[in-house]
């Protein structure tokens, strides 16, 4: 481990910044900032967001230009916040959009798709999208060390990308994560810091560490760039549907960032004329009942959430104090979507239902999404004929503990035909 004080401070801003990015802009008060590694408005503490020159982008980006691009999220690079050609994370994105007829039949939905990020590259979750963007941007900004606060998937992805970039890496996780997610960090040889607290404690600690160490915390000081990677979930969905925006999407909520960026992605495509100019999209959120601050605010008709102490098997969604919770509620409200919440048994049922109908093994967060999709269909919030996309964001092999006791044991036999025939008689 190096002495952090020995690392030079990175450049405060990127002098080579692309002309497609005009700067960073505060979402609350509109103040403008340089394209630096900053994420919070100095004045009002609101979040900063990349401000693009859509007119310039519109002149160079078209369905045709996208079609000629690489088979990865970099086919949408004009709407991603990096200044130069990407060099790391070249294979993230372009995951399958699966027509889910068997799951749809079970739920009474005739036009259902699954965006399957359980097979994202390289670490089997949608986090490979945001990290691919963040790592390239961190390198452009002159950083040598990357770090993150994580519920697991993000740490896996940061660790893997840092390894391939040859960068020093620190990941901070709650101490009680699933074994698969801890191992999924250690193998890449970062410094894994297991904090005795929950994710919100880790996050707060990292905010303070970020003020003291000159590191690229992908979801803190690099967050305005990092979060933009999630838009590619929407871009790919639209392109894979034949340049269409769905009628309904169902998105898991932890920090709320993915949900707001999926909305933004469809809006950007619309603005650029790549899809319908007035898409009528409802954005629905999915939370675990054991950590449902956004659901509770929605159910009570409030525009701001009250934080909670998480207690759920869906650890990747266990954020009790969601950074983008306010904006997630805003998007859900203005798109006329809804929020549902699933209990732990319903989460496991959702995982099993997705696996047995579509052959997709999702982590607990996927169980949350499927369980909430089921509730939305049952109460008529999603009609049978509506074009619906459910976002499955992580792989079940990372959260196997959640299934303990829920699945039958293998059938044991002796290595003889007779023994087998005792359990299965030939017809």
């Amino acid at each position: 481990m190096s002495n952090p004080s020995a690392s030079p401070r990175p450049f405060p801003e990127d002098r080579k910044a692309s002309s497609l990015m005009r700067g960073l802009k505060c979402r609350e008060c509109g103040r403008i900032y340089d394209l630096a590694p900053v994420h919070v408005c100095d004045f009002c503490f609101g979040p900063l967001e990349v401000d693009y020159d859509y007119e310039a982008i519109g002149k160079i980006m078209s369905r045709d230009s996208v079609d000629k691009g690489p088979k990865s999220l970099w086919r949408y690079k004009h709407l991603l916040p990096i200044a130069e050609e990407p060099t790391i994370g070249l294979y993230a994105g372009m995951t399958p959009l699966v027509k889910a007829d068997r799951l749809g039949k079970a739920l009474g939905l005739k036009n259902l798709y699954i965006k399957n990020d359980t097979v994202n590259h390289p670490t089997l979750s949608f986090k490979d999208r945001v990290v691919a963007v963040a790592i390239n941007r961190a390198r452009e900004l002159g950083f040598r060390t990357v770090a993150c606060a994580s519920t697991g998937n993000l740490a896996n992805s940061v660790s893997a990308h840092a390894a391939s970039a040859g960068m020093e890496c620190f990941v901070f996780i709650p101490h009680d994560l699933e074994a698969g997610k801890i191992l999924g960090n250690l193998i890449y040889r970062p410094t894994v810091v297991a904090v005795r607290g929950n994710y919100d404690d880790v996050n707060r600690l990292c905010s303070e560490i970020g003020g003291e160490y000159p590191w690229a915390f992908v979801n803190i000081n690099i967050r305005p760039y990092y979060a933009e990677g999630s838009k590619t979930m929407a871009f790919e969905t639209a392109e894979q549907l034949g340049w269409r925006v769905p009628d309904q999407v169902v998105v898991p909520i932890a920090s709320g960032s993915l949900l707001t960026k999926i909305w933004k992605g469809f809006q950007e495509f619309s603005r650029l004329g790549l899809v319908d100019s007035h898409p009528d999209l409802k954005v629905n959120g999915a939370q675990a009942q054991g950590c449902s601050p956004v659901y509770q605010a929605f159910a009570a008709g409030r525009t701001q959430f009250v934080p909670v102490k998480p207690k759920t098997i869906a650890k990747s969604l266990a954020i009790g104090n969601p950074a983008d919770g306010y904006y997630a509620l805003d998007v859900i409200g203005k798109s006329h979507g809804q929020v549902e919440a699933a209990s732990d048994p319903e989460i496991v049922e959702g995982m099993v239902l997705l696996a047995e109908t579509e052959g997709i093994f999702a982590e607990t967060a996927g169980g949350v999404t499927v369980a909430c999709l089921k509730k939305l269909a049952e109460k008529g919030a999603i009609r049978p004929d509506e074009l619906t996309v459910a976002y499955i964001t992580g792989n079940g092999l990372k959260t196997m503990e959640a299934l303990t006791g829920y699945l039958p044991e293998p059938v044991g036999i002796d290595p003889t035909l007779a023994s087998f025939q005792k359990i299965v008689n030939p017809s």
Binding site: C44, R223, D324, Y326, A365
Partner: protein, 93 residues
């Protein structure tokens, strides 16, 4: 009551560069009022037009978010630590 207030980086220039300040007050609100009295430039940064703590600022007393305690009316005692932290940080989905 004397409480140690930890100042976030963006506000330090308005507090003579200090990272930590000892301030008096019996509640979070009183401590914040002391802070604003001593360093008036901090007011518009910390409070919105209605005098409420801004939406994207979280306040912690001894590591606990005051929204789990009594909000800005949370009582504080000698030796407590109050942290002012931007709400926007990490996050998964």
């Amino acid at each position: 009551m004397s409480v140690l207030v930890r100042i976030p980086t963006p506000l330090r220039p308005l507090a003579n560069g200090q990272k930590e300040i000892q301030l008096k007050g019996a509640s979070v609100r009183e401590v914040l009022e002391s802070l604003i009295r001593d360093y008036p430039g901090i007011r518009e940064r910390l409070m919105d037009e209605k005098g409420e703590v801004r939406r994207f600022i979280n306040i912690y007393v001894n590591e606990e978010d005051i929204r789990f305690l009594g909000g800005t009316e949370t009582p504080v005692k000698d030796g407590d630590e109050l942290s002012i932290i931007p709400a926007i940080a990490g996050g998964s989905r």
